[in-house]
Amino acid sequence: MAEQEQRRRSAPRTDDVELEETGTGQQAGEELKAELDDLLDEIDDVLETNAEEFVKNYVQKGGE
């Protein structure tokens, strides 16, 4: 198994992908962050108003 790991882990494909993406990495990172911020704004709007109560009341029976 160890040999297979080595072969996979040092596969040039991984490095290529990283190199190609370096140029746009920062921009993509900023976009992602803005997206996350929007999402977090949205969550504040839809999150159950009384989280503690909601979580306390969420009781299920075991199943299967």
Binding site: L36, L47, G63, E64
Partner: protein, 497 residues
């Protein structure tokens, strides 16, 4: 040669009856299913329990202390025209998809199951008094130590010794968590607090206590031994997999089903890795789930120390060799096989190098990014109830409330295909015969189950049509026949039964 990996997925959904003081989950689950059946189906056809034997053990014996699962024949049970079974199991609504021939088809039916639950919820809520509401979650735990399952089923070759299946699938099940997990805040294992496990990869790892066994509700085993093939038992087994999470991400459902099917085909053909057994399987299952940095190494029985990802790479390499020799016919064809291999490869590479890049396709990573952001913004501890609330709401099926739907996870299925799958069976398995008969002759069908249907055509005793071959009764086999027969009596006459 491996048998075709016919597969299906069964999900028990979490259910909440809000603003009802004395809520009863069995009654609530019945309301959900009855609302759907009465609201959308022409006529209810019940489930036939004749061939159900969930207490039969694949190891060929019944342990004295093994608790055979009970069948609750008195609860609501319906068969849908898409070939699915929709029923109350214990205290949950449960939907079992029809038998599918590949991972993409089954992912579409899993998404259709979500749609069916959403429609059920809407219909049921129309009937409830103002202020009350039934809410469905596609998750596996209430955060208080109660778990309910999302089980996968795969057809395997009866000729393969069950002991070998256990040995060779176990390391795969343990390590696949890294791309199959739905994520969870905290731990429900006895004695562990948020400071020990603030967040983990899977919903379910906390609940597994045995390596192998028959139980599903207590002392859950990583490999379940229920031997109930729902097919010709001389030729087939049905591997009943209880160790997975219910995923909101379609990419994960697709990968989980497709890659597991490939690995089981490899096991049928005796080409799976044999040197990956962990020294302590149950402990490693949990440690893997708790290791969100994917940094931990575990000791194998052969003394080697490896990570969960190393084990996945070993299975990946074996799958490449298997596919070179056998192709991908038994898991859905060349195109899908290559797509699954590429996605499997890419997800492992991303997990090694840049896990956050998977936040649009892997539930636990999407959750981690979201919860970390939320924690930072509001300066919260992991133990804050707001995070537990977020963690439930991620799985909420209400389209305006569910976080998973709002964050825009990548899709695998097409909306038009999902809509079709809500009411129509897959054309490529016996589910086609089941579903089309229900659509064409609802008044002449008394009951149905996975491997037979019972007709009442008035004059004779009830007639049972066996369906022991999962790949018979397809559109190609019986499509024209069903189109031509205007009633069940004619169908049975032409089938020669």
């Amino acid at each position: 040669m491996a048998v075709h990996k016919v597969l299906g997925i069964e999900t028990e959904f979490g259910i909440l009856h809000r603003n009802e003081g004395d809520s009863n989950p069995v009654a609530a689950s019945s309301m959900i299913i009855n609302a759907y059946v009465n609201g959308f189906l022409e006529r209810r056809v019940g489930w036939d329990f004749e061939d159900e034997h969930p207490g039969v053990d694949a190891r060929g014996f019944n342990e004295f202390d093994a608790l055979a699962p009970e069948i609750e024949t008195h609860l609501v049970n319906a068969v849908l025209t898409n070939g699915a079974r929709y029923y109350v199991d214990h205290a949950h609504p449960e939907l079992s998809t029809p038998e599918c021939t590949d991972a993409l088809q089954c992912t579409t039916y899993d998404r259709a199951a979500e749609e069916i639950l959403i429609r059920s919820m809407d219909k049921a809520n129309e009937l409830l008094p103002d202020g009350e509401e039934l809410v469905i979650h596609k998750n596996n735990s209430d955060g208080k130590g109660n778990s309910y399952g999302c089980h996968e089923n795969y057809l395997v070759d009866r000729a393969v010794p069950f002991g070998r299946i256990v040995q060779e699938i176990m390391p795969f099940f343990i390590s696949r968590q890294v791309f199959c997990g739905a994520g969870k805040v905290g731990s429900e294992a006895p004695g562990l607090t948020h400071s020990d496990v603030p967040f983990q990869i899977t919903q379910r790892a906390d609940f597994f206590e045995e390596e192998v066994g028959l139980e599903t509700t207590l002392k859950r085993p990583i490999v379940n031994t229920r031997d109930e093939p729902h097919a010709d038992s001389k030729k087939y087994r049905r591997l009943h997999v209880i160790v997975g999470d219910a995923n909101m991400s379609e990419v994960q459902t697709y990968l989980k089903l497709g890659v597991t099917a490939i690995v089981l085909a490899m096991i049928d053909d005796d080409m799976a890795p044999k040197d990956c057994a962990f020294e302590t399987s149950v402990q490693t299952l949990r440690q893997t789930s708790y290791d969100i940095d994917l940094a931990m190494v575990h000791r194998l029985l052969n003394g080697q120390k490896v990570s969960a990802l190393d084990v996945q790479w070993a299975y990946y390499a074996a799958a490449e060799s298997w596919a070179e020799r056998n192709g991908f016919d038994v898991i859905g064809g060349q195109e899908m096989g290559l797509d699954l291999m590429k996605r499997w490869h890419d997800v492992l590479v991303a997990l090694e190098n840049d896990p956050d890049s998977l936040s649009d396709s892997i539930d636990w990573i999407a959750k981690r990014r979201l919860y970390e952001g939320y924690r930072e913004r509001h300066d919260l501890e992991w133990s804050d109830p707001k995070l537990a609330a977020l963690d439930l709401q991620y799985h909420d099926l209400r389209p305006d409330k569910g976080l998973a739907r709002r964050i825009g996870l990548k899709r695998i299925s097409e909306d038009s295909e999902v809509e079709l799958a809500v009411n129509n069976p897959p054309p490529s398995t016996r589910a086609y015969f089941r579903g089309r008969c229900l659509e064409r002759y609802p008044d002449e069908i008394v009951a149905a189950n996975w491997d037979s249907m019972v007709f009442d055509i008035g004059t004779d005793p009830l007639r049972r049509v066996p369906m022991l071959e999962p790949l018979r009764g397809t559109a190609a086999h019986v499509g024209n026949l069903l189109d031509e027969c205007s009633n069940a009596a004619e169908l049975l006459r032409r089938l020669g039964t």
